[in-house]
């Protein structure tokens, strides 16, 4: 298993979840306060802010319980290991970050380059990064990239009359 300790990474997972509960608690308290500022019309018993307040109050209670529950489960040493484990996890899953990064770059360049060109580049580059590189697979990736960029653009324009972004270039 890539030389990592499953027990330790499981504990790090518990700490990560604890952090998510803390985040949810803070967010729900903040949003609860912000929902209190929404004005209520005098024609109704419950105003526009009431339903959100119910949700955020429940969320705050549930995440508080989750925090207490998590604190009891997590052994003390797990906190010290957390940073190292998180880095190890990120290294194991580096392709996740590559994919999300590529997708972000792709979406940001669509308005600039237009759908077809941006997709062509995104598809080809991401496939090449992910694949075991052989001449055959690279050729296949090139064909796939053309079909799902210019081909898809053509299909949507001609068949569904949906015009994908053209770009400014």
């Amino acid at each position: 298993m890539n030389g990592h300790d499953p027990m330790k990474s499981q504990e790090a997972g518990l700490v990560a979840r604890l952090l998510s509960y803390v985040f949810l608690l803070l967010a729900s308290v903040g949003l609860f306060i912000s929902a209190s500022g929404i004005a209520t019309s005098r024609f109704e018993k419950l105003g526009a802010g009431a339903f959100p307040k119910i949700i955020f109050a429940t969320m705050a209670i549930v995440s508080a319980i989750a925090i207490i529950d998590a604190l009891r489960q997590i052994p003390r040493r797990a906190y010290g290991d957390f940073a190292a484990q998180a880095v190890a996890w990120a290294k194991r899953c580096y392709l996740v970050f590559v994919c999300l990064g590529a997708l972000t770059a792709y979406l940001l360049t669509i308005p600039l380059l237009g759908f077809s060109i941006a997709s062509l580049i995104f598809l080809f580059v991401l496939q090449v990064i992910l694949m075991p590189r052989t001449p055959k697979s690279i050729a296949l990736a090139a064909v796939v990239a053309v079909v799902f960029s210019f081909g898809l653009n053509w299909l949507f324009a001609e068949v569904f009359t949906v015009f994908l972004p053209r770009g400014v270039l």
């Binding site: 549930v62 995104f122 991401l126």
Partner: protein
């Protein structure tokens, strides 16, 4: 009867049938690819159906749905990897049978069981949905609000590895639904001055980001598996189609029992194919005379799992058509697609749009026939689908997600929203939050809020939620489901939680 004929007339047109055929193929192909779930396939089909008539669009999506439950069988039987979470139990017997030199028989048994499962569930649906709707139109806003509370708590406690995170996910979904103008007075909420948020978060963008993007990204977590190919079962494959049909029909008890289990589980909010196949398999094993053979290639095991998961398709439509409450993520998408066409889904659906509802019933039956025909004639081709490598699928499907998101509103800002929601969705998935409650929260939030506020506008007395009997029953049921979840959580306390990710369909 007129409604029935109108519905039939809309389904039996050349264009609709052709689209449905394409939908069946797409569903089977998509679900045969490991890592590509039925839910994802339907999410991606949705934008393509916008230009169609409402019934035509929903018929295509039902074909993808029915096809998808069958497609999961292919990789389950041949690779031992469930193509979708709903075919986990199929691997128990179909894979050993394929390994023992009968891959064709294993596939055929699965296809026939799926077919009969879908047909049986449609029959139940036809008889169960209209009376439920007649009952539901008499419910007031109090009952409706309590029903939604019940639906959300049961979803949250059933799906995923932790009830606590399930409930939190449902609440996050509800919170997302409150962004934008409020449903009664149109007052702006939580837009933080950002123009994009003023109309609220578009449900379908949330759906694509949460389900498709996060699923795709999680497929590349293990770098080694991305770069290697899967070996397929080799050798001659003989499907023995007709002999197998008789073989499946010779097990009427198992077939009926598994289908009924599938229908019941499908009708329960939150539980779907991913639970039904395991329960049906378990029941078949208990009821069988040769239960020791289960797990070694026993036909009854395949029949139970496949009939069970396919029958949830019809079962899930019962609360959707009867109450306007989607029971699963897939049903929520079907509901959203009707809403895109301006049709409000609720108990009045069957009264106001009878042709549409009957058309859906007919479409279910037609879709299962299509699935059968497509599977019988082109199973050999689909065997190659399981060979499509992940490095190709992930980027291509991501591009399809981008196109789908853009095509919804023709807005570039939706694309920025997509990446934000995709990253959030992946983070939640990696932390072990179930995503189905979140999606149901987003779609049920406005319905719950409208009914809650309407109830209090009709009568200021909040105790009516507890004094009206049906409302009280739903609230008690919601309470029981939470207590039950907390109890099982405390029971599992000693055994450490597994860090696996929750199935999402």
């Amino acid at each position: 009867m007129t409604d029935f004929m109108t519905g039939a007339a809309q389904i039996f047109t050349l264009a609709t049938l052709a689209y449905m055929l394409a939908g069946s193929v797409a569903g089977i192909v998509a679900a045969a690819i490991p890592g590509f779930t039925v839910t994802m396939a339907i999410v991606l089909t949705l934008p393509l159906t916008f230009t169609m008539e409402p019934l035509q669009g929903i018929a295509v999506m039902l074909s993808v749905y029915v096809g998808g439950y069958t497609g999961g069988l292919i990789s389950a039987a041949l690779l031992g990897i469930p193509g979708t979470p709903s075919s986990v139990a199929t691997t128990f017997d179909a894979f050993p049978m394929a390994r023992n030199g009968e891959p064709g028989r294993a596939l055929s048994i699965g296809v026939w069981a799926s077919f009969f499962g879908t047909v049986i569930s449609t029959i139940v649906l036809i008889f169960a949905a209209p009376p439920l709707a007649l009952f539901a139109v008499r419910l007031g806003p109090w009952e409706y609000f309590s029903l939604i509370v019940f639906a959300l708590t049961i979803v949250a406690s059933l799906v995923g590895t932790s009830a606590m995170r399930g409930i939190l996910a449902g609440l996050i979904g509800l919170a997302i639904s409150t962004v934008g103008t409020d449903p009664i007075m149109g007052r702006p909420r939580f837009d933080f001055g950002i123009e994009m948020l003023q109309a609220g978060l578009p449900f379908l963008v949330v759906l694509i980001g949460i389900f498709a993007i996060s699923q795709l990204v999680s497929e590349v977590e293990n770098a080694d598996s991305v770069r290697s190919g899967n070996a397929l079962v080799t050798g001659a494959i003989d499907f023995q189609t007709w002999t197998v049909m008789k073989e499946v029909l010779m097990r009427p008890v198992n077939l009926l029992r598994s289908s009924i289990i599938g229908v019941l589980i499908g009708a329960l909010p939150g539980a779907g194919g991913s639970i039904a196949n395991l329960v049906a398999y378990d029941q078949a094993k208990r009821g069988s005379k040769n239960s020791e053979k289960f797990g070694t290639g026993e036909p009854d095991g395949i029949v139970a799992s496949e009939a069970g998961n396919s029958a949830t398709a019809g079962g899930g439509l019962i609360p959707l058509i009867g109450l306007g409450i989607p029971g699963s993520a897939v049903d929520a998408i079907l509901m959203a697609s009707l809403m895109v066409h301006g049709i409000s889904v609720g108990p009045r659906l069957i009264l106001d749009h009878g042709d549409l509802v009957y058309g859906m019933f007919i479409a279910m039956v037609v879709a299962s026939f299509m699935m059968l025909i497509v599977s019988i004639f082109s199973m050999r081709l689909f065997l190659r689908v399981t060979e499509v490598p992940k490095w190709l699928i992930v980027p291509v499907v991501m591009t399809c997600c981008v196109v789908g998101t853009f095509a919804l509103n023709n807005r570039v800002t939706d694309l920025y929203l997509l990446i934000f929601i995709g990253i959030t969705g992946y983070t939640l998935r990696a932390l072990g939050y179930a995503l189905a409650p979140l999606v149901l929260g987003v779609i049920l939030g406005p319905i719950a809020e409208t009914n809650l506020r309407r109830a209090l506008m009709t009568d200021e007395d909040p105790t009516l939620f507890f004094t009206r009997p049906i409302s009280l029953i739903f609230l008690i049921a919601a309470f029981v489901s939470i207590v039950w979840a907390v109890r099982s959580h405390l029971k599992n306390r000693t055994s450490t939680e597994r860090p696996t990710h929750a199935p999402t369909s």
